[in-house]
């Protein structure tokens, strides 16, 4: 880990996104080590409010799961556009991880 790393994607081994059915989007942050997991799973890093601001969705609709055994943080929320409907930009929601990977860690 480089000391300059300040974003989720710099620390995580993989950040990915995908549909979870036509109406949900789910994002997985694979941390790879306990140290990174402890950093990214800490209070105030990946929160419903911060994710909601990134994706411009209702914070009350965002679910955050912390899976210590797998060193994974999972985030799910309803798709802003149901899959395939007019306005769809990403049919499989496979490129929606980029804003989350760019999320800065709080100072």
């Amino acid at each position: 880990m480089s000391p300059a790393a300040r974003r989720v994607g710099d620390l995580a081994t993989l950040v990915r996104s995908k549909n979870a059915g036509p109406f949900w989007l789910t994002l997985d942050i694979f941390c790879g080590s306990d140290e990174v997991y402890d950093t990214l799973a800490a209070d105030g890093v990946v929160t419903a409010e911060r994710v909601a601001a990134l994706y411009r969705v209702d914070p009350a609709s965002v679910r955050v799961f912390r899976l210590a055994d797998l060193r994974v943080i999972k985030v799910s929320f309803p798709r802003p556009v149901p899959q395939g409907a007019p306005g769809e930009r990403d049919m499989h929601a496979g490129q929606q991880h980029v804003p989350l990977a760019r999320l800065e860690l709080p100072a």
Binding site: R56, P82, V98
Partner: protein, 460 residues
């Protein structure tokens, strides 16, 4: 299961050759799986993941040749081993046409391979009038994030399918089906049917099914081959069908994350799989032992509905931009063009902004993420895709035709000459036909697991 195959009570072996029929797999991997001990070959053939058009039109996303190739290997192997071949969500969306499409391929394979086969077709496409009656009885419930269903939405759907559970599949196998072609079914139901029929407990059976549903995706090399699972009284053991590929505790456990909003709980027609207490242990470098999942039976059983409706008609046009000066201000250019077109469409065509939808997506800049893009930067080249949708194709075409000269020539504000961008084609406007959308996120409560499915058994 025929008399040539010996069954161990309470233990079931499954070969899951691939995550989707038609994707292809090494032929020898199936024989390897059968040699490990198998009571069924089970494979999923569909998903909503490719989008609503396949359901709305009842067409498959896979090509017939690729599906026939996979089916032939599985059917010949299954017949020789005396174990059933189960295919779920036939034809991508599991419509009745999808089941018949796969069934026609099975008939041809049986003829060409000179096989006698008992084939079950299980249909799960739904009649909207019957569902309307269910709705009026209060038997259709919304699933998050949907609100209550209204009749108009139900009647808008081009097609509706219900996701069947394991029961009709298990019943077809119990009735001697050697090939089961199921309409829309949950992936896990396709895999759990035979283990549950053979008396495996539901926790291990459903968790094994949920883990193996995408074939090799729970291994260290998802493209190498599918998996073999053996389910018993306390759990299941999983391994890759490729000798050089491994299942690890992490690769197996991580599959509960994939395409699931909730990594611990998965709703099935017969209840909910809860994996929060599951343990994953390496037996050796390739095999993983999983125990501890529970299955909470639900009453009444439910069937999730999927419905796709026409949301409009689309026309597109693509202009390539390479001029560095335009690219340096691509956001300004795109916003100027959009504004210009919206004004012109109202002034010239008499269509207000609420009566159609126009988007300019700058591929190479921020087309994928739009305003969410954290860092669109300065592009080297942009494909500016004009996307028009309207209630009729003719209207979408008309708007795209109106837009054509401006998409071709619009300069940046303050520029005194008329540039021309690189159109991809002539005609520039490309009618795309209907745009479909998924409109149901609801479940219907059932009187019995087979209430809304229809099974036909035939000897070939």
């Amino acid at each position: 299961m025929t008399s040539t195959h010996k069954v161990k009570p309470g233990v079931a072996g499954l070969v899951v050759p691939v995550g989707m029929l038609g994707l292809g797999f090494p032929e020898e991997s199936v024989a390897r799986g059968i040699a490990l001990g198998a009571d069924a070959i089970a494979v999923d053939a569909g998903s909503t993941d490719s989008g609503p058009s396949y359901l709305a039109t009842g067409t498959a996303k896979t090509t017939e040749e690729a599906v026939t190739r996979d089916l032939r290997i599985l059917i010949v192997a299954g017949k020789a081993a005396g174990i059933p071949v189960i295919v779920g969500s036939c034809g991508t969306s599991g419509t009745d046409d999808g089941v018949d499409w796969v069934a026609a391929q099975v008939e041809r394979i049986a003829r060409e391979e000179r096989l006698r086969l008992r084939v079950a077709r299980i249909y799960s496409e739904q009649n909207p009038d019957r569902l309307r009656a269910k709705l009026r009885e209060g038997r259709i419930v919304p699933l998050e994030p949907a609100g209550p269903l209204d009749e108009a939405t139900l009647l808008r759907c081009q097609r509706i399918v219900g996701l069947m559970g394991h029961e009709p599949i298990a019943e077809a196998v119990a009735n001697g089906a050697e090939v089961v072609l199921a309409g829309r079914a949950t992936d896990a139901a396709v895999l759990s049917a035979v283990p549950l029929l053979l008396g495996c407990p539901p926790g291990p059976a459903w968790h094994a099914a949920k883990t193996a549903e995408c074939g090799g995706l729970c291994t260290t090399d998802p493209l190498a081959a599918g998996v073999h699972v053996e389910i018993d009284a306390t759990g299941f053991t999983i391994e890759s069908l490729d000798p050089a590929t491994s299942c690890t505790p992490t690769s197996v456990a991580a599959h509960m994350l994939y395409e699931n909003a909730d990594p611990f709980r998965a709703r099935e027609p017969a209840g909910t799989l809860d994996t929060s207490a599951a343990t994953y242990a390496a037996l050796d470098g390739r095999r993983v032992r999983v125990e501890g999942a529970r299955f909470e039976a639900a009453e009444p059983h439910t069937m999730k509905l999927e419905g796709a409706a026409v949301a409009g008609y689309r026309t597109i046009a693509l202009a390539g931009i390479r001029d560095p000066e335009v690219l340096a201000s691509i956001g300004t250019w795109a916003a100027t063009l959009e504004r210009f077109l919206v004004d012109g469409v109202e002034r010239v065509l008499g269509l207000g902004p609420g009566s159609y939808r126009l988007e300019l997506r700058c591929y190479g800049w921020n087309a994928v993420l739009g305003e969410l893009d954290p860092d669109p930067g300065r592009p080297r080249e942009v494909g500016a895709l004009l996307v028009v949708s309207a209630p009729e194709q003719a209207t979408a075409n008309k708007i795209a035709k109106y837009a054509n000269p401006y998409l071709l020539h619009l300069p940046l504000p303050g520029v005194d000459h008329l540039p021309s961008y690189a159109f991809m084609s002539s005609p520039a406007e490309i009618p795309c036909g209907a745009v479909h959308e998924f409109v149901l996120q609801h479940a219907v409560e059932l009187e019995a697991p087979d209430e809304l499915v229809r099974t036909e058994l035939a000897e070939l």
